[in-house]
Symmetry: C2
Subunit: 308 residues, 2 copies
């Protein structure tokens, strides 16, 4: 099967970790094991990934060092994080493939994702990014044009989270996967760009990484979309006495639950929406599972599987 596997942030940096280079390589090394097993069994895999800790660190560094070296904007920091994480995944995958005597190439493709300048998300920024600011620094950033939100301990910049319209590099990614390579792409939801005077322009926004993975999966006509995260599966009535884990559900069933407001916007909502869109766009199977159970979930023995 042609699979798009969306790795959650905890596949690269474990919660509570400081996030040193050694830790990130070590966690990545563990996370790619399940992926290599899929490849060993003949699946074609494109890997997408989050970039929260990495881009957070980069944005903090831009702010701290701004008096001595020009700070790069969010789109450029996103590109940097794709280079970083793509490199780490490619290096760990190469070793794991070599261990299993699989003669495959891993290619990381820096990915831009087209968003619509008229997306209503631009009117309502919702996604906190970068460091926590004190009150006076927050005021300065507001004067620079940023929107800020108050959080525990201070203020953070919030940016829009527009819908992905088109993955600019998807023809290249499709060609590479069909040639038998493993591709790492659409890191951190992709670098958001808008059409501008015949060209493109990066924007200060963050595209949801699972929705971007879905857009890629649909564009390259993948058979399956695996969304790997830190919870075991999708639940209904989550956190209540009668919470129930979803095993296999149909598209109709999960659409109903989604419209009933079962899945909160900040966490499971976009993952379920990505699964729904993938099946609506012609995909066969969408799976939401924990990274630890990725292989079992692909076999139908763990996680939530959404089918037609």
């Amino acid at each position: 099967m042609k699979l798009v596997v969306a790795l959650g942030g905890n596949a690269l940096v474990k919660p509570g970790q400081e996030g040193t280079s050694e830790q990130q390589f070590e966690t990545t090394r563990q996370s790619v094991e399940a992926i290599v097993r899929m490849i060993e069994h003949g699946h074609e895999v494109v890997l997408t990934h989050g970039n929260g800790p990495q881009v957070g660190s980069l944005l903090l560094q831009q702010e701290i060092s701004k008096e001595v070296t020009p700070p790069m904007p969010l789109d450029v920091c996103g590109a940097m994080s794709q280079g970083q994480v793509g490199y780490m995944i490619a290096q760990c995958m190469t070793a794991a493939l070599h261990d299993r005597q699989l003669d495959k190439q891993v290619a990381t493709v820096v990915t831009q994702v087209l968003v619509d300048e008229d997306d209503p998300a631009f009117e309502h920024p919702t996604k906190p990014v970068g460091p926590v600011y004190r009150h006076d620094d927050a005021l300065r950033r507001i004067k620079e044009g940023y929107r800020m939100t108050q959080q525990k301990g201070g203020w953070r910049i919030v940016v829009p989270s527009p819908d992905p319209r088109s993955i600019l590099e998807s023809p290249v990614i499709k060609q590479l996967i069909e040639a038998g390579h493993i591709v790492v792409a659409v890191g951190g939801g992709g670098i958001p760009v808008v059409e501008s005077g015949g060209g493109l322009r990066g924007v200060e926004a963050v595209i949801d990484k699972d929705l971007a993975a879905e857009e890629l999966a649909s564009e390259i006509e993948a058979d399956g979309l695996l969304i790997l995260t830190d919870v075991e599966a999708v639940y209904v009535n989550y956190g209540e006495d009668d919470q129930r884990m979803l095993g296999e559900v149909t598209l109709d069933e999960i659409e109903q639950l989604y419209h009933d407001g079962q899945f909160p916007p900040g966490s499971m909502g976009p993952k379920v929406l990505a699964a729904i869109r993938f099946l609506q766009n012609g995909g066969k199977t969408a799976i939401i599972a924990s990274i630890d159970n990725a292989w079992e979930a692909l076999q139908g023995n763990a996680g939530t599987r959404i089918v037609r």
Copy 2:
């Protein structure tokens, strides 16, 4: 012709510029014009590029922010700079291609370059990287295991500059260019890695970007290698009364001049060596010219052209 075009640092940040994101995009926009003209005339192009200012800025940010977020090592910063510069080039190229109604994809491939752990360069670090340190900070870094060199205004870390042995992603790059895409790869000379226990491991080193471009050009069987820099051409007796610009020279002639010590190690030496190796490895033409005259040089009307 299948061309590898190696862009020098000044193709991305002009000398004397602070290096803001806007400046880097603007300079890159100008630099890709000549490349798009080549593509318009039917040439297949892989672009490589330097990363001096970008990785310098990243290393400075790692150092300044090290108390609040874990600093990333040189190999990871190199990967970040590939993401950054690759994104900028891809975005500028896409606009320029669109202007000329050329329906081409631009793909940036994060690139690892294998070096030999026994390369004598590891015994003799020569390449200064990152910020300038004061005496006491330099002592601290020496205790951390770095070698330092004294320069105007302070101390800098020096790292080895080993020879590129193999471009790990070259099969993918070759496939993409042969499919008609434009590829950006081997940024900053590539991320240097060594073989380590069946896998790979990044090392604190910087591969010369022109030698890495040559290795790529040979591996993908390019017809031409264009090394674009800030000087017009290669000179003999450079800076002396009888200095002479080289137009078209044969491999034999330039090998003789190279062995006579005409080209200094830090500047023109590696460029000429890259040209020599390319022809020795079966390449047809190597050109060393200024970025402003790239198109004229390809026509044989500027720069230095090395032929068999």
